[in-house]
């Protein structure tokens, strides 16, 4: 059953993502993407990563996408402003098509040369306790680095998004 679930969810993910990237309206794109991420979170759950699944929902669907939504709404990006042309700009599509071909060949080769079946590997999942041990014992330094990165990002975002000073205006000096 879990196997079937995997394929169904995979299909949902791909379709939702496909819809997301083709939407003209960014809000719709975000909605589809949230769907995609939700399916992806379930995939994670199936693959034995419940914590990652939870975080996928909390962080990606719950925070990052909300942030996107917030920005889109705040900037009032109306649908149709973007005049995207999906026309035959082959130079744009060429690397993607080639990449897809290359990756497909790679996968075929991999499957053909060294098939890794699902039978030999027992199901396994990471409990929060194991996860915590791995995270804070082995990767303690990385945690520190990442937390600093987050701090810098917060400061940086605050700096970039600060209101522009009015005193720069040529007429200024009224303050």
């Amino acid at each position: 059953m879990a196997t079937w679930m995997f394929y169904i969810l995979g299909a949902i993910t791909v379709v939702a993502t496909l819809l997301a990237i083709t939407q003209r309206n960014p809000v719709h794109a975000v909605i589809y993407l949230v769907n995609s991420f939700f399916a992806l979170a379930l995939l994670f759950f199936l693959l034995g990563a419940p914590l990652v699944a939870a975080w996928e929902v909390i962080i990606y669907a719950g925070a990052i996408m909300v942030l996107f939504l917030f920005i889109i709404m705040m900037l009032e990006i109306a649908p149709g402003v973007e005049a995207d042309r999906y026309g035959p700009n082959w130079l744009q599509w060429l690397p993607i098509l080639l990449l897809a071909a290359a990756l497909g060949i790679c996968t075929l080769l991999l499957t053909g040369l060294d098939p890794v079946g699902s039978n030999g590997v027992p199901h396994w999942y990471a409990s929060p306790r194991d996860f915590g041990y791995a995270l804070f014992k082995e990767y303690a330094l990385a945690i520190e680095v990442v937390s600093f990165q987050l701090l810098f990002a917060a400061v940086g975002a605050f700096y970039v998004g600060r209101p522009e000073r009015k005193s720069k205006s040529p007429a200024g000096g009224d303050r």
């Binding site: 995939l43 990652v52 942030l67 995207d84 098939p115 890794v116 791995a134 810098f152």
Partner: protein, 101 residues
């Protein structure tokens, strides 16, 4: 493991390519960022799949780091989108070509 690793790989590759398409084809800054998110998620899926295959927790830890990195990236880049929009009144990447050589 519920499915062969290759199937996870294929799914992740498809997602990655979809993200890449979004990044390369779209001209809306926000959509480009969304494409990047898709690609990052594809990588996350790959890591989780590998983690499940080798029964090592490190892959999932990497995903956590990936998420932290992504949130940092998104907060900065969205702040910059706001900034750019304030300057040009648009989020069309074609408008931002001041770095033209």
């Amino acid at each position: 493991m519920i499915v062969p690793l290759e199937h996870v790989l294929i799914l992740s590759t498809i997602l990655f390519l979809l993200g890449l398409v979004c990044v390369l084809v779209r001209r809306n800054l926000i959509m480009i960022l969304i494409g990047i998110e898709i690609m990052l998620n594809a990588v996350g899926l790959l890591l989780v799949g590998a983690s499940a295959f080798w029964q090592q927790i490190d892959g999932q830890v990497m995903v956590i780091f990936l998420m932290a990195m992504t949130s940092a990236e998104v907060s900065i880049s969205l702040a910059m989108v706001v900034y750019l929009n304030r300057r040009k009144g648009t989020v069309d990447v074609r408008a931002f070509d001041e770095m033209r050589g």
